[in-house]
């Protein structure tokens, strides 16, 4: 049980980056570039957020939370 909880804790940083930074990247891109295809950039922003979370998990970047 404890190990499962630990795994969940470790993956939470990925979820956090996906939602938190994905939303921020998305808003930043729309604010700065006003793209015509907003949907594409939204998908890309959340993908970058997710990848950022994976890097943070592997590198143990607790500072992002």
């Amino acid at each position: 049980m404890d190990e499962k909880l630990l795994k969940l804790e470790q993956w939470f940083i990925v979820l956090f980056a996906f939602v938190f930074f994905g939303s921020i990247f998305n808003a930043g891109v729309i604010y700065l570039f006003e793209p015509k295809n907003e949907f594409f950039f939204t998908i890309m922003s959340y993908l970058v957020g997710f990848l950022f979370g994976l890097v943070a998990k592997n590198k143990k970047w607790g500072w992002i939370v």
Binding site: V19, F20, S23, I24, N26, G28, G62, V65
Partner: protein, 300 residues
């Protein structure tokens, strides 16, 4: 209450009993100033959110207001951690948690989590095996202190420390578990807020809390403790940095807090004036530089 006027500096009685007697005269009151600071900074922070979201003030202005108000968020919780918000009144102990936790919302931290770790910091100051603050206090530069304090939650050495304490002390473990739940809830709130108000969350919450946490790591942790060893009279220093003490939250006299943590933050100037001869006699780090008057001295 004893102060520098009533206490004879040239008294030859520098015994530990006399020191404790003087220190006790500064303890026990409710530190109402911290309660005012807690609610004021939280109100300013909420108001800033409202003004920015309603487009009454620009985001950049909101960021600067939030940065200043958030820098006042930790001390009320710290006062609560030491029981200063309830003073000697046992029936008011709940005030320490409630006010402490409300004050910490802009810093997105759990009061209980910070409290149990801070108590270990006091019990084992500067001990590399037992002090949770050690890894951002005993570093070579401000930059390292500012960066490392953000990694406390993912530092394996601190994780080991917390596990060791949890194995030995069930009450500590309970507090860590309860505090972690509160912490999780606040971070969840940040995620939800970021989804609906992304740039506002970045500039009014996340960035101010990160900058303030770095400031805390440098001014509250590293400067008073860096390079010092273990021991109640040798683990904290009196220091100056050219900035008036009011702009440093009076952390220059943090030495007083480690000597007697039960003395309220706002009474420390008077207490350090009265206890100065004892501090000099005990060769406390920097004690020889403590001026006779501190109350209205900016300590630049």
């Amino acid at each position: 209450m004893i102060n520098s006027q009533t206490y004879n500096f040239h008294s030859s009685d520098l015994s530990h009993e006399r020191e404790k007697e003087i220190a006790r005269s500064f303890m026990g009151r409710i530190e109402w100033e911290m309660i005012v600071i807690a609610f004021t900074q939280f109100f300013v922070w909420c108001l800033t959110w409202y003004l920015v979201v309603s487009s009454i003030i620009p985001l950049w202005l909101g960021f600067f207001i939030s940065l200043i108000s958030t820098s006042f968020a930790y001390l009320p919780s710290h006062a609560g951690q030491h029981g200063h918000l309830s003073g000697k009144y046992k029936n008011l102990e709940w005030v320490n948690f409630v006010v402490g936790q409300i004050s910490l919302i802009p810093l997105a931290r759990s009061h209980e989590l910070l409290k149990v770790l801070h108590m270990k910091h006091h019990a084992h100051t500067n001990d590399p095996e037992k002090d949770p603050d050690y890894f951002h206090t005993h570093v070579d530069s401000w930059f390292e202190a500012a960066m490392r304090i953000h990694n406390q939650g993912s530092d394996e050495r601190i994780e080991k420390m917390v596990n060791d304490y949890s194995d030995k002390d069930p009450e500590f473990k309970k507090s860590i578990d309860r505090g972690s739940q509160v912490q999780f809830f606040i971070v969840l709130m940040q995620m939800v807020t970021a989804f609906f108000f992304p740039l506002e969350t970045l500039f009014l919450w996340w960035l101010p809390l990160k900058i303030t946490t770095s400031y805390l790591g440098i001014v509250f942790s590293r400067e008073p403790h860096r390079g010092l060893g273990i021991g109640r009279h040798s683990d904290t220093r009196f220091w100056r940095n050219g900035i008036p003490r009011f702009l440093n939250h009076s952390m220059q006299i943090h030495i007083m807090h480690h000597m007697y943590p039960k003395i309220c933050h706002h009474d420390e100037p008077k207490a350090i004036e009265a206890l100065r001869p004892f501090m000099i006699a005990k060769n406390m780090p920097g004690a020889e530089n403590i001026p006779e008057k501190i109350s209205f001295n900016s300590l630049t």
